[in-house]
Amino acid sequence: MNNPEYDLVIIGGGPAGLTAGLYAARARLKVILLEKAAIGGQILVTDWIENYPGFPEGISGSDLTENMTEQAKRFGLEIETNDVTALDLTNPVKIIKLSDREISSHTIILATGANPSKLNIPGEDSFFGKGVSFCATCDGPFFREKTVVAVGGGDTAVQESTFLTKFAKKVYLVHRRDQLRATKILQERALENEKLEIVWDSIVTSIQGGIFGVEKVEVENVKTGNTQEIQADGCFIWVGINPNTAFLENSVKLDESGFIIVNDKMETSISGVYAAGDVRNTPLRQVSTAVGDGSIAAFSVGHYIENI
């Protein structure tokens, strides 16, 4: 068997991947981390992370990303911006096809994370970047003294729509149930906020506007069937996430929602292939759980390499 270039290739540069990289670099494995877009992943679009221990005042997603990256690099982690186009996992030496070359490795950690789910309603795609947004920290300041609609009822929706009230004069949070799912402290802040109004039992059915962007959002009450139009300049959508696993079809086992199935060592259905963070089947998707996954995955890789 030819010796592969790497002991470990980590795909994805969010908290799970960066932590796996830190542990693997300290274990002196030959390791590279590949990120297709921007190091940090979903935490880059979080306005403030206040439940990651060690930062009593909280920390911004981009500062936490910088800290994690610097820490991993200090131990020699190699990081490259590149797109993985295909994987060949049929042999013990895995082949990773990149946009410009192929590399080989004994092991892979899949830490590709997830992307925000869409509503799949009229206007959502056509007004993306023209009022439709998935990122309050990126786009909130464009809505100073304007009215916006937000959609969802989980942690992200409730936290980010509360954040939007710093800029917008009014935020309508449209939620399809009669109670929120978000963590209690986030709910309390939202319910106390005078600029935020929750539209219960309702869904957004279309986003409408003109050449200048979003102008109104159509909302339907699922209990009464009544519809109303909310005049708004923006529509922020936070209705869950989709795992980035499309490129893994017919390789590692996925659950019915597309998340990678792993055991408690973060081993997937293929020997030498691991998964960590939001991309795996897990009951909780947080920075704190992602870094735990990443360290376990790197530890398991270390064992695997020792036994080759």
Partner: protein
Amino acid sequence: MAESVLEINDNNFETEVLQSEKPVLVDFWAPWCGPCKAISPVIEDLAGSFSDKIKFTKCNVDDNPVTPGKFEIRSIPTLIFFKNGEVIDQIVGMVPKTKLEEAINNII
């Protein structure tokens, strides 16, 4: 490295972008935008490879309200490609580097 991406503003947008002989990429960004900060090394990297064929610029939307308003920008990062003063392509949000390379190759 950083100098290969030219900082533009409301005053010189006309001359540096619209009247440029080369195609121009404008990266609309702000200091408070995490994803903008995260993609800037990628843009600088691309500027290193393509700066002979395309002019790489960035525009801080906080300091320059006029230009982003003109192009109805309500989301950043937004990248706009200009050729002969016309908008040729527009990319919103964080996208893979390969997609940016594709967009660049399409206009040069």
